[in-house]
């Protein structure tokens, strides 16, 4: 890899596995002892098991999973248990402080804030997760094709990525959103199409090294085609990197949809999401209606932090796998 063709990448603290730089990672003590031969090695464990153990030992990652699962339950199962009126505007009930029959009070239209938090969260989470998945699929295919074929294909595909990357995601998303009438599917599409770029770069790097591996070469000798190589060998072998990246993508996508909605460019009324709720709440900043701002703000930070913790735990777990290779 010469410095002429590839700009020196930063040591990315979020992804040391991808940058290939040495980092200090947490290695369980017993494994270290086994590795150095101090303890007799037991039954050889699968790399998946080892990765899982590292992940489960990471308290932040586990709490991330628990928090994320809780928020999913809260948003999708919550409304089935906690019935509120979220359809009919009721001005006689506006701005009721928390307590009594409205645990988190009501907003300007008389909607119950706790119930609204749930249905708004559904939109934020659905758009965020779907966009991250779509972005991952597009990025993986684009990067795998570029890395596998190399040469002119690689150069032209990656220059497109460079060009799109030079427009910051938020700016690009805002331009595209202003061209269309945003609805849930369209927002998923816009966010996915503006955030697959980093994934494609990572996967391209993996594909570049994977395509020279013996098993890919052997498959080609046996008459396997390029499609098979990309779909069956390159993409699955980069799965660790892809999963870690997809998790961070979820965090980024949720942050992006929330930011767009906050700016009034995302989800439009009567639908709402956490960003839109926050932007509604901030209008009453001088009236002391704190329950319109803090619960939803807390929910946003909680979900994004949980996704980041999961991603960091996965990264450490995948690194164990890479060390084994």
């Amino acid at each position: 890899m010469s410095i002429n063709t590839i700009p020196p990448e930063l040591p990315d603290p979020d992804n040391p596995a991808a940058s290939g730089l040495a980092t200090v990672t947490h290695v369980p003590q017993t494994d270290e002892a086994v590795a150095t031969g101090l303890l007799p090695a037991g039954k050889p464990r699968s790399t998946f098991r080892r990765g899982l153990e590292v992940f489960l030992e990471n308290r932040l990652a586990v709490s991330g999973v628990i928090i994320f699962a809780f928020m999913l339950l809260f948003c999708f199962v919550g409304p089935l248990v906690y019935h509120t009126n979220q359809l009919r505007v009721n001005f006689t009930d506006e701005f009721i402080p928390p307590g009594g029959s409205h645990l988190l009070g009501t907003d300007a239209s008389g909607f119950d804030v706790l119930g609204r938090l749930m249905i708004a969260g559904q939109v934020s989470l659905e758009v965020g997760i779907a966009a991250a998945l779509l972005a991952t699929v597009v990025g993986v295919l684009w990067g795998a094709v570029a890395g596998y074929f190399g040469g002119v294909v690689d150069a032209s595909l990656m220059r497109c990525v460079d060009a799109m990357l030079s427009i910051p995601t938020l700016f690009l998303a805002i331009v595209v959103v202003s061209l269309v009438t945003p609805s849930k599917p369209i927002l998923i599409l816009v966010i996915a199409l503006t955030s697959w770029l980093t994934t494609s770069r990572l996967v391209r790097g993996e594909a570049l090294s994977l395509r020279t591996r013996d098993y890919v070469q052997a498959m080609k000798v046996m008459g396997g085609g390029s499609t098979r190589a990309v779909l069956r060998h390159i993409a699955p072998n980069a799965i660790g990197t892809i999963m870690v990246n997809a998790t961070f993508q979820v965090a980024d996508a949720i942050a992006l949809i929330v930011a767009l909605s906050y700016l009034g460019l995302g989800i439009r009324p009567p639908q709402t999401d956490w960003g839109a709720m926050l932007s509604d709440g901030i209008q009453y900043v001088n009236d002391g209606y704190w329950w319109l701002i803090f619960p939803v703000g807390f929910a946003i930070v909680l979900v994004i932090t949980a996704a980041i913790f999961i991603g960091e735990g996965l990264r450490d777990a995948v690194e164990v796998r890479l060390q084994r290779r």
């Binding site: 930063l10 799109m164 030079s166 427009i167 690009l172 331009v175 202003s178 960003g275 926050l278 932090t305």
Partner: protein
């Protein structure tokens, strides 16, 4: 070195050209007829006026000819005309861009001054209280959307304890940022905190990487004090990636500035962009997009060059 420079510059030019193609593509995607958009909804009754408008602005030509015309305008620093604001995009930017540069500049410098010691402290006290504290701090501000941080600052320092105004300095010209510096405090704090979260993680991992290098062991063996090793050897080497970091963080910082400007009504380029998105003022949207993209490309180009100049290993590889 010269070959490396030439290749990187050429690469950047190609990328910028591709950006103009993408932007032009977006321009073509805009629904509706530009002539009717400008002349008013009733103008379809007057085809002569529409034809004249199309002719005047080149809308009657084929798309490649339009692209060429548009590119020619950009090269002559003509980014189009905002019919909604009745002003050319360049003159709008001339007014707004300095304010954004001022906000971004001060916040970035402050963030660097604070993030470098924090990162070093975290690396030296790895897995101890101080490390965990700042780790939590940087994760929190990394995970917290910039607008939420801005809202919280307004709630605490403008509403609860009215120390600072909730809005950025209003008014024309760059002079107001000095006369109304009080109102600039909250936007600067907001953008600085976001940027520190971005920088201190890099700094921590850079110092950690360097601490395991051979030269640290050599210096230790020669009897150098911890302090000397840290300040003379590790810190110096860890500062090299800062050049790259600054160049590559530009998109993230500009996005942070957009949000911060929107929250605090600070009339910079980001706020202009945001307002144009709400008003569907496409010439301004695309003009700002091009400016931001060029800034990003030039930023990463400068970062690469700085890296090559600062780190002799890069130069040797390229020769």
């Amino acid at each position: 070195m010269a070959v490396f420079l030439l290749r990187r510059v050429l690469q950047s030019i190609i990328v910028i050209l591709l950006v103009t193609v993408i932007t032009f593509g977006l321009l073509r995607l805009i629904p509706g007829n530009p002539a009717i958009a400008v002349l008013g909804p009733n103008s379809f009754r007057n085809p002569a006026a529409i034809r004249q408008f199309d002719q005047q602005y080149g809308f009657d030509r084929p798309w490649y000819s339009q692209y060429w015309l548009w590119l020619d305008h950009i090269l002559h620093l003509d980014l189009g005309f905002s019919w909604k604001l009745n002003q050319s995009v360049v003159s709008l930017l001339g007014n707004r861009l300095p304010k954004t540069i001022f906000l971004v500049g001060i916040s970035t410098i402050l963030a660097l001054i604070l993030a470098v010691p924090i990162g070093v402290l975290q690396a030296v006290r790895r897995n101890k209280m101080a490390d965990h504290f700042f780790n939590g701090f940087s994760t929190l501000f990394y995970a917290m959307p910039a607008f939420l941080l801005g809202i919280l600052l307004i709630l605490i320092f403008a509403v609860k304890f009215p120390i600072f105004p909730p809005e950025g300095p209003q008014g024309e010209g760059l002079g107001v940022v000095f006369t109304e510096f009080n109102s600039l405090v909250l936007p600067i704090i907001s953008l600085t905190l976001v940027t520190i979260a971005l920088f201190s993680r890099y700094m921590r991992s850079a110092v950690l990487d360097n601490l395991t290098e051979d030269y640290v062991r050599t210096a230790k063996a020669k009897g150098a004090s911890e302090r000397r090793i840290l300040l003379r050897h590790v810190l110096r080497n860890s500062l090299i990636p800062i050049a790259t970091l600054l160049g590559l963080s530009l998109p993230a910082i500009l996005a942070g500035a957009l949000i911060t400007e929107a929250v605090f009504n600070y009339p910079g380029m980001g706020y202009l962009f945001y307002q144009s998105a709400l008003n569907t003022d496409y010439p301004v949207l695309l003009g700002v997009t091009i400016v931001v993209a060029v800034a990003t490309v030039v930023g990463s180009l400068l970062a690469d060059i700085a890296y090559a100049v600062l780190d002799p290993r890069v130069r040797y590889v390229s020769q």
